[in-house]
Symmetry: C2
């Protein structure tokens, strides 16, 4: 057996020969180490392989992760009583069973209201890796982001005061906040959102792509490697880079050129910039784009090539890139479904107005 | 230490003395064994203490429980794509994190439609112990019941054909059905509902009340025992009996006398009979009654006394009975939140009409 990471080849001809000799049936001609270098040069980084390193990556000294915060944050994440109606939780639109999304084009919230700008729910998985939150990047981190949808009229529609009244009416929550933050804790809306954010920080999903970049060069098939190479060659990494393969603000041409540009009225932030969505778990997060206009992943690849890169990507190449994109489907953290605290006579009732 | 199950006392005076001597602060004067006998005579049975016996209790030879069916049924139970919109799962209205219910008066379904008869979602926990399903008892078992809400217009609103198309469009599901039922399996709507029902059969929640009846006479406090005794003396067990403390069809006076009788148009089945809801986990399943008219458990106790038994139950006695009712809050099975199969280009899209 050949130690692949020892092979350092540069010439194209030699590569082709090596491929025939050592890589068997693959038509893709590049050494694995060269591909890793190319990926790295394109600005992509893996999720680290050690749990300690992942923790370091996702932790924030201003709101450090603890086991108790994660457990309490999980309950709050699945808590429908944080919504005005008592029916909608964070998990309703960011379903951890379904790629961290709701699988519909525009988010549906309180009283079955569609997002007024026809915006699609982004995945919560790996959202900690985003440099900004929301499609227009208006929120710097998850602690801030988590406050938004709870209060937004077409989403959970709950005033901050109602949320605090609901939570503090339940001894089960009050005791858990005390156990988590100390007996003199003041349970306010910010702390509730901060605690949810800590849980969300843990939702990182390493995949076979990370295994490959972390040194297991057999973690991808040669077809997947070929797709990855094409993904870089086409220029997709000019926006989809870093650990999240996305998550930074980028100039966004969609409003002008995108096939479904007329769906909704989103124009990006004040400078026409939009958050590039992560490509991690992209296989699970259809429909695609800010307005959920496209359902097919390979069609989305072609559309992005055309709109953002000025390229015509053939069906064949789009299929190859899609083959690579599926290697970004990661392993999800095991989540034990929580048992939520019991309401009391003091718990404010569901409201449907 | 006194072995309580050896004490066999009959005289009231002796009991009172025994209580003072051995039971400490309790004002409740009856030997534990006598109370167990009284409970048994009132027609109440415990959930067995051994897992094998529970399995025997909930299994159905026509649709036997297997680990694979339970695992697949769990996925389907949490599967929002079984609904027309792709947003509502069984768990939406029967939330396993929240006592198996939705915590609102009348169920809210497709397009935010309230149940047209203003009916409250019954808990799925221990529903296998019911002798009939639905408030009007029209369904004989969970396999049949599970077909209802998926198709019902104001609930999940999905025609059976659409459900089958969705499920069979996903190789993840098709493979799991093959692994569960054999490679020649025909995935039809009935089999999907049957598989959900198998998962639901496992949702049994033994509590300290069962521990008490199964011989751990210290499992209840003397206040809880006093409430239990009162629960029987008041006649609550004439309807709330058997293992489920409910679940049989009973004549129902609510339509005539109940305080909130005007809320909705439910009149029971054609004979005016209605399914007595289980009292297990009743602490977690407010609001109460078929139309969710009452939120306070002790108020519900008083209302039932008045409407069904012709009794005025004092606030003090209602509080005592409520203290007992909370012993029916059971231990929930540990549920690992599932990761659902990925949609494909063939999966029928969400429909919002």
């Amino acid at each position: 057996m050949i130690k692949r990471d020892k092979i350092m080849l540069t010439g194209k001809k030699t590569l082709a020969l090596t491929t025939i000799l050592f890589a068997g049936v693959s038509a893709f001609a590049m050494s694995d180490m060269d591909l890793v270098k190319k990926v790295t040069k394109a600005g992509i980084k893996p999720i680290p392989s050690s749990k300690m390193e992942i923790l370091k990556l996702v932790d924030d000294p201003k709101n450090p992760i603890t086991d108790r915060k994660v457990e309490l944050g999980k309950k709050l994440y699945f808590e429908p009583r944080l919504s005005k109606s008592g029916l909608i939780s964070c998990n309703t639109c960011h379903n951890l069973a379904a790629g961290g999304v709701d699988g519909v084009a525009a988010a549906i919230g309180h009283k079955w209201t569609a997002n007024p700008h026809h915006l699609n729910s982004p995945t919560v998985y790996n959202s900690v890796l985003n440099k900004a939150q929301f499609w227009d990047g208006r929120s710097p981190h998850l602690e801030d982001q988590a406050q938004g949808p709870i209060q937004a009229g077409p989403e959970m529609a709950a005033p901050a005061k109602l949320v605090v009244q609901r939570v503090t009416s339940m001894p089960g929550y009050v005791n858990e906040f005390k156990n988590t933050y100390g007996s003199s804790v003041k349970i306010d809306f910010k702390l509730i959102a901060d605690t949810i954010a800590v849980f969300e920080r843990t939702l990182v999903t390493p995949s076979s792509f990370d295994d490959f970049l972390n040194g297991n060069l057999d973690a991808l098939t040669s077809e997947q490697k070929e797709g990855l190479n094409l993904f870089i060659d086409k220029g997709c990494t000019s926006c989809h880079n870093d650990i999240g393969l996305g998550g930074t603000m980028q100039a966004f041409e969609v409003a002008k050129k995108y096939k479904f540009a007329s769906l909704g009225d989103f124009k990006g932030d004040k400078n026409g910039m939009v958050k590039t969505p992560t490509l991690r778990n992209i296989e699970e997060t259809a429909p695609y784009f800010h307005n959920g206009g496209i359902w097919s992943l390979s069609e989305a690849v072609k559309e992005m090539g055309s709109v953002q890169l000025g390229l015509t990507i053939s069906d064949k190449d789009a299929a190859k890139i899609t083959t690579f994109l599926k290697t970004l489907t990661g392993e999800k953290p095991t989540i034990i479904y929580p048992i939520l605290p019991v309401s009391t006579n003091k718990t404010p009732k569901p409201e449907f107005n």
